[in-house]
Symmetry: C2
Subunit: 318 residues, 2 copies
């Protein structure tokens, strides 16, 4: 066991844990369903097991907490072999090892059709360090880790190659050129490193969320729950060069993909403006805007200096 | 919120909990899959939501712990209406209320086909009171709560009435006479009351498990993990009169149903023999045998005084 808080793992009616004294605990759950969240035509089973864990750990990090244990429930139909199940678990174990969490509970059952993975993750955080969505303050900087839109465009490419393959089974898929966005879709990572960096600089965000639905939708969650407005600037929104060129291939606006795409599993957070110079020095963090009073609305300023209302599906042309 | 340890429930990336100091925590997870664990032709959705919670709480009680929080993940296809979802949640909330637990996390998504409910339950227990499966001692009494075989026979009746209905849709099902075993199948309860009673008498079981797979299989789990043998006696195995008469209708041995049936969610535990007279006085508890050295095997003694080897599928005629 990697975590000292794990007393007894799989093998009894329940696992037994010894929560760390004086820490708060967080718990989150997420389910991945075949045909809805993934397509096994282009999703390796090991990646799937890995991703099912990572999307939950991302929620734990978004509370500024460190994950400690997970439980996994799997249902799969008889078309899956024992080797397939082993592949899924290999991915689950790989994620557990990389992120230092213990798998303490499992339940594998049959399904009539398809594959379902449900993961629950626990984590812990110092009492004065837990970060919610509803505590952004006017004047705070809005920051995002990594880059956005890649997972969405990677999915578009996988879907296109699948369609090509189905109509012309002899044509091999061309994915190498866009390995980056494809990997963002198939094997996302959770941003433990960002928590470490912020802790190093003694920065506690004033609010935080992970970007699973898209920057626009998730920033609106922070604004609504904190009762504030926001201004973000198109030129500051981070898009990877490979993501950008893939957006050109699909004749899509890269900014639209970044705002709406979802599944990037980056961290979106707000911090007190006194940290601006520190944040600007941190590689892999972008300051994309600021929190303003609620009555100023929630706006995206495009490169032409025009303001547009942010909506859950991205942004509205006026 | 019913539990003081629930700091922040649904509404953020994760729920935030404050585990009770000096207590151990337990965590367990179980998934119910349509067509595998339940049939919606005879399972009311509210009962289904209730049962999905109860089967998890039963695992918490089997650690001698009290449940505190649950998370629920649901996937359902477009054939389910919003009202159907409300019914499932009505059952989930009813179980939360009766057992005093908080629903702190939820994830509802689509499925291509069918309904899947995955529940994870947390509980807590004093450090010196947690009860495992692997700690039964030679000489201990073997006890079981309630009565057995009902859930299995209730299921047989529901399956028969379904077959009748499918071939003769004008025939109304006859379930009233056997309401008890049918309810055992559709709306089981977890035995919180047994923990309360044992605590009142200051009895801590030496080992415990909940009966989800059947008395035989679950008793073998205790024996194998504790490296001991057992002797149980047919005449002591509790079977409800309504369960007995239903077994006669199906021309099945009631003892076979009790041993193999499963889904009774009763508690099976071992206790030091000094508690014999106390246990005998407790209504709804049966002392069904004793723990013996491993080399004496795991045996069922039938009413004709003959010993039979217990196997996971019940017992073996010699």
């Amino acid at each position: 066991m990697r975590q000292p808080s794990t007393i007894k793992s799989i093998g009894d009616d329940a696992a037994v844990l010894q929560p760390t004294p004086n820490k708060l605990q967080v718990i989150t759950t997420d389910m991945l369903v075949e045909g809805i969240h993934f397509d096994l035509m282009y999703t390796p089973l090991k990646h799937l097991g890995y991703k099912a864990v990572v999307v939950n750990l991302s929620d734990v990090y978004a509370m500024n907490a460190l994950p400690t244990q997970i439980t996994v429930s799997l249902a799969l139909s008889s078309r899956f072999t024992v080797e397939a199940l082993d592949q899924i678990y290999a991915g689950i174990y790989a994620a557990c090892e990389l992120y230092g969490v213990d798998l303490v509970g499992g339940d594998t059952s049959s399904s009539k059709k398809g594959l379902i993975i449900s993961v629950t993750a626990l984590g812990e955080v110092d009492k004065d360090k837990v970060v919610y969505r509803n505590t952004a303050k006017v004047g705070d900087l809005i920051c995002v880790s990594g880059d956005l839109g890649g997972a969405y465009l990677g999915l578009q490419l996988l879907e296109r190659e699948k369609a090509v393959f189905l109509s012309h089974p002899d044509v091999q898929p061309e994915l190498e050129k866009y390995a980056y966005p494809v990997e963002r879709q198939l094997k996302p990572e959770a941003r433990k490193d960002i928590l470490d960096i912020l802790a190093t600089y003694d920065i506690v965000p004033s609010s935080m969320i992970d970007i699973s639905d898209g920057l626009s939708s998730d920033l609106l969650h922070i604004c609504t729950q904190s009762d504030v407005g926001c201004q973000i600037f198109e030129e500051n929104i981070p898009v990877h060069t490979k993501t950008f060129s893939l957006s050109q291939l699909f004749k899509m606006s890269p900014i639209t993909c970044a705002l709406n795409g979802g599944e990037d599993y980056e961290l979106l957070f707000t911090v007190h403006p006194k940290h601006l110079s520190t944040l600007s020095d941190i590689y892999g963090l972008s300051v994309i805007g600021r929190i303003v009073p609620a009555e100023q609305g929630r706006k995206l300023f495009t490169t032409d200096k025009k303001g547009h209302d942010l909506i859950a599906q991205g942004w509205k042309h006026i």
